[in-house]
């Protein structure tokens, strides 16, 4: 075990994957010589050379598409999309090509492709560099989506994604890159796709969090007067329905903690499924604690308020438990919304 920042955990995962399999190549803007703008590919060029670690032109459609073709013909590419938003110029290759290539070739061609993208607010990058965008990948059979919540999951999910024989998107909340923690590397550190982690035991509520909201939910639960099972979903597609249902069966309450707009957020999938499957068994309505329905604002006090805070999560969950009713979000309470 070594203590690593999350970006170091990513580069450690890539290095281990590249050592394990010579077909693994790393492709992206400024990933080679500069080692990545978030330093998540640092050191790879030195160890693996220009053939396997490649700086690209600014052309996400081109190099993501190239990675799809390379994956179908013998390589195992890992593409860095510096900011998740940039998939907006390349989504076709992921959703309409990569995810369907195996199907449309009756299994003759697979696409063992991993796409890493940084996501989320918190670093003051403004409305076009701070979104999470998980739903872009929804309703796409053939595509898997995992989300890192810290150094260990960044390492373990990425290793699993690279080994996976199908396209996997790994989202990395960029405000967590600098956070440091002990990381188990090697095979023991690999986290199977599709498995959630129950991080704490508690009787009153299940908090399902993902990526950047995992530390928030955890901290909210830690100091609270109620007991929570905090579940790090880790993989969003396919998500671990069994683990979440088990947990909610035990606690009787579910709160999904999301970064991103309330309307149409990824958590609707979790909420809809759990509410139906556990109909009649819940002690309170399923609740989603989210950001408001606004683009991510820049000014610090605004951005800070945008992402659910520890206090806000604690307050919302507390009220849900206490009243058995859905708490109103902060923006409808304070009359902040015009």
């Amino acid at each position: 075990m070594t203590k690593l920042r999350m970006n170091q955990a990513v580069s450690a995962a890539l290095a281990d994957a590249m050592r394990e399999d010579p077909a693994v190549v790393v492709i992206g803007e400024d990933v080679a010589v500069p080692g990545g703008v978030f330093k998540a590919t640092d050191g790879l060029l030195a160890e693996f050379g220009v053939g396997r670690v490649r700086d690209t032109p600014i052309s996400e459609m081109g190099f993501l598409g190239a990675a799809v073709g390379a994956a179908a013909t013998g390589l195992r590419p890992v593409v860095e999309i510096m900011f998740g938003e940039f998939l907006g110029v390349a989504l076709d290759q992921l959703v309409t090509e990569a995810a369907k290539l195996r199907y449309l070739s009756a299994g003759q061609y697979g696409v063992p492709l991993t796409v890493r993208a940084s996501v989320g607010a918190g670093l003051g990058f403004g409305a076009q560099h701070s979104q999470c965008l998980e739903t872009w990948f929804y309703a796409t059979p053939g595509l898997k989506v995992a989300v890192a919540s810290g150094p260990q999951t960044a390492y373990g999910l990425l290793r699993a994604a690279v080994r996976d024989d199908d396209p996997v998107v790994v989202l990395e909340p960029r405000r967590l890159y600098g956070g440091r923690a002990e990381v188990v590397t090697g095979d023991d550190g690999i986290i199977a796709l599709g498995s959630a982690e129950v991080r704490t035991a508690g009787d009153d509520v299940t908090l399902v969090a993902l990526g950047g909201t995992v530390p928030v939910a955890q901290e909210a639960a830690d100091g609270a007067g109620w007991g929570a099972e905090v579940v790090d979903l880790r993989t969003l597609v396919p998500w671990d329905v069994a683990t979440v249902l088990d947990s909610v069966r035990r606690t009787g309450r579910l709160v999904v903690v999301e970064e991103g707009p309330f309307s149409g957020g990824w958590g609707t999938e979790i909420a809809a499924r759990v509410a139906s499957e556990l109909f009649g068994e819940l002690r309170a309505p399923v609740h989603r604690v989210t950001s408001p329905d606004v683009p991510v604002p820049y000014a610090k006090p605004l951005e800070t308020r945008y992402v659910p805070t520890v206090e806000y999560v604690r307050e919302q969950v507390g009220e849900l438990i206490e009243t058995g009713r859905t708490p109103r979000p902060w923006w409808s309470r304070e009359g902040a919304h015009r």
Binding site: G69, P77, T96, E97, R102, A106, Q108, Y109
Partner: protein, 325 residues
């Protein structure tokens, strides 16, 4: 019965190239009939008139080379070696189809001959070919990748990004644009700032050739030059094939938007007639043998159609296969 690979290897022989062009022509005619009969659903994009490009290309490539192609891919598939019954089976959505009927006319694939799943999104296959070229370069050996696409596709961003990337990385890729003068119902000049598309290689300092796409051996020779450059590590080439599609864009389109006489002028340089004449002139075949070839092709395709008509449709369970590894 011959395998796809046998069919591919056969193209070394000029007479086989003539025959294959006839086969494609006959095949496309039947697909049109079957579409109007209502037994082909959805859409079809026929390539009559462009046979020389497909066959010239296939005659030059190895089966281990990688090809990405578009929805207008029946001819390329047949040329690369795919069995007519498997291609028609796919178009008719039968279990005998190349991918079992889940793909349809726009989604043909056979790995044994290097045909990656054809692309229904314009430009979608171009970067994918670049990636296949990357595999060739990184994994060693001297296979190459080829992207086949239309004139209209040269206006989409993926074209530009792909050519630049292939040039910068010096990848073994050949870009083959079938300039058939139309993108759907729009003539090239209405959508494209230059109509000689080879010019666009200049933005990438890439070698380019303009090729008479109606002459199969000219196509083969140009492809050979480009492929040799690629295999030798000298990077990508853009080949513009001047050609024409006799049918409209797709389905029931008859091409009413075409100027009078244009179709006829192109038919005057029909790739099959040109090649038949050339082979007869060279003494490779006699006129009688040409007729016999044509009859044999017609008969074979008759059989294929009869066979595929009888072939079973897939069971609903087929839709659940091959989504994940």
């Amino acid at each position: 019965m011959s395998t796809s690979l046998d069919r591919r290897v056969a193209l070394r022989d000029p007479t086989a190239r003539l025959e294959r062009m006839m086969e494609i022509r006959e095949f496309e005619g039947r697909v049109k009939d079957l579409f109007f009969e209502g037994v082909v659903s959805g859409t079809t994009h026929l390539c009559e008139g462009q046979e020389a490009v497909s066959v010239g290309l296939a005659a030059t490539l190895r089966p281990t080379d990688h090809v990405t192609c578009t929805y207008r891919g029946h001819g390329v598939a047949l040329a690369l070696g795919c069995e007519p019954s498997a291609v028609l089976g796919e178009i008719m959505g039968r279990t005998v189809g190349l991918v079992g009927g889940v793909g349809g006319s726009m989604h043909l694939s056979e790995r044994a001959v290097g045909l990656m799943p054809t692309f229904a999104i314009v430009g979608g296959g171009i970067p994918v070919a670049v990636g296949a070229g990357l595999s060739c370069q990184v994994l060693g050996g001297d296979d190459v990748a080829v992207a086949v696409f239309g004139d209209g596709a040269t206006n989409i961003g993926a074209f530009h990004e792909s050519l630049n990337l292939a040039a910068v990385w010096k990848l073994p890729v050949v870009f083959v644009v079938e300039n058939n003068l139309y993108g759907e119902y729009s003539p090239i000049a209405s959508t494209t700032a230059v109509t000689d598309l080879a010019v666009r290689a200049g933005s990438y300092a890439m070698p380019a050739e303009t090729v008479d796409g109606q002459v199969v051996d000219d196509v083969a020779a140009a492809v050979r030059r480009a492929v040799e450059r690629a295999r030798g590590g000298d990077g990508p080439t853009l080949l513009e094939m001047k050609t024409y599609r006799y049918s409209g864009h797709s389905r029931a389109d008859t091409g009413p938007y075409r100027p009078d006489g244009e179709l006829e002028a192109w038919q005057g340089r029909d790739p099959i007639a040109l090649y038949a004449d050339a082979l007869v002139a060279a003494g490779t075949v006699t006129a009688g043998e040409v007729d016999a070839l044509r009859s044999a092709v017609t008969e074979r395709i008759d059989e294929v159609v009869a066979e595929v008509r009888q072939a079973p449709e897939p069971d609903p369970s087929a839709m659940f296969g091959h989504i994940h590894a």
